[in-house]
């Protein structure tokens, strides 16, 4: 593969693992959105710090892609936040901020960058197993379900030139999951058939596969990386 791949939420966790995996794979340029320059470990990773919920954010990423001088072959929409509470207590602000970051920013970036993508390019949206439902996450669950809907619609409208898929991680050892109280986290792990949290690298491996021609006949799918939790 030769070209540029954009990864949002690249500063930490799953996004960082994806950016590093892509940077280590062949002659690729990786644009890491939300990545501070001092955190860019590999020289192939170009950091871009923008607010993707603003009008200017996606346009700035567009400019960075054009400045790279190579074709855009991949986009990974990974940036996400949580603002958990029970539905009956959920504030308007918690609802809106999660929808704007997790869904609106991803949609805006797809709209901005799709015209730049070359034939055979691939978009991967990082959803969550919470799209199947998760207590205390009405806003997050809705945003990730929306991302699944967007994935399906874009898979149809951008075919055959561009493939679009979603990855839905379950409990992954990241900053976000480490914020969960230990007792709760242990209880969650005990419900996972593989008896452990996943790693960011295990998600990155699947994203890498979906970005490469090895997955050339896969589009519009949602693949869960959850250790079997959807069955238990």
């Amino acid at each position: 593969m030769n070209g540029v791949v954009v990864v949002t939420g690249a500063a930490r966790g799953i996004g960082r693992a994806i950016a590093e995996k892509m940077a280590a794979t062949g002659p690729l340029t990786v644009i890491g959105v939300d990545l501070a320059p001092e955190l860019a470990l590999a020289e192939q990773i170009t950091p871009v710090q923008v607010d993707l919920t603003s009008q200017e954010g996606p346009a700035a990423v567009h400019q960075a892609v054009e400045a790279s001088g190579v074709p855009l072959i991949g986009l990974v929409n990974n940036a996400g936040i949580t603002r958990d509470s029970r539905l009956v207590n959920m504030s308007d602000e918690s609802f809106r901020s999660v929808l704007e970051v997790n869904l609106g920013a991803a949609y805006r970036l797809c709209t901005e960058l799709a015209p730049l993508m070359s034939d055979g390019a691939s978009i991967v949206n990082i959803a969550s197993r919470a799209y199947l439902g998760n207590f205390g996450q009405y806003n997050y669950s809705m945003s990730k379900g929306g991302l699944v809907g967007m994935t399906r619609a874009l898979a149809l409208s951008l075919a055959p030139a561009i493939r679009v898929n979603a990855v839905a991680p379950g409990l992954i050892a990241s900053e976000m999951s480490m914020a969960i109280p230990e007792e709760t986290r242990d209880r969650m792990v005990s419900a996972i058939p593989l008896e452990r949290m996943g790693t960011p690298d295990e998600v990155a491996n699947l994203v890498w596969f979906l970005l490469t021609p090895l997955s050339g006949y896969i589009t519009g799918e949602v693949i869960v990386v959850g250790g079997g939790r959807s069955l238990s």
Partner: protein
């Protein structure tokens, strides 16, 4: 509370407004202990009528599953009715009423019409 997903364009502002109205109505219903049904178009769960409508329909389905989990203890339910093109709206309304009345079914999507057969599970 029966909430019909509105027809939206692919404009993000319209999508966010539609999802926000659903959230506000659902939160009020949950606070009152009322059961909830979202009504969406089958085609939108598969993304066949554009990204805006797909984000609303699939977003509502996921939100329904989460709200259903939260309602178990308090005795209210949340379900989704997904109808195919050409379905009589009265038929849809009848099924939605039936789900509102039932305390045994929650977190489900009931598809009316055959369009979903052989297609992706939502």
């Amino acid at each position: 509370m029966i909430h019909w997903a509105p027809e939206v364009s692919d404009d993000w502002g319209e999508v966010l407004a539609a999802l926000t109205r659903a959230f506000e109505a659902t939160r009020a219903a949950a606070q009152a202990g009322d059961s909830i049904v979202y009504v969406v178009h089958n085609d939108d769960l598969l993304g066949r009528r554009g990204a805006g409508k797909a984000m609303v329909a699939a977003g509502l389905l996921s939100a329904a599953r989460t709200a259903a989990l939260e309602g178990i203890k308090d005795g209210w339910t949340v379900n989704v009715v997904a109808f195919s093109a050409g379905t009589d709206p009265e038929t849809v309304a009848d099924w939605a009423d039936h789900l509102i009345e039932s305390s045994d079914v929650t977190g489900e999507v009931l598809r009316i019409g055959p369009d979903h057969i052989g297609k992706a599970l939502p």
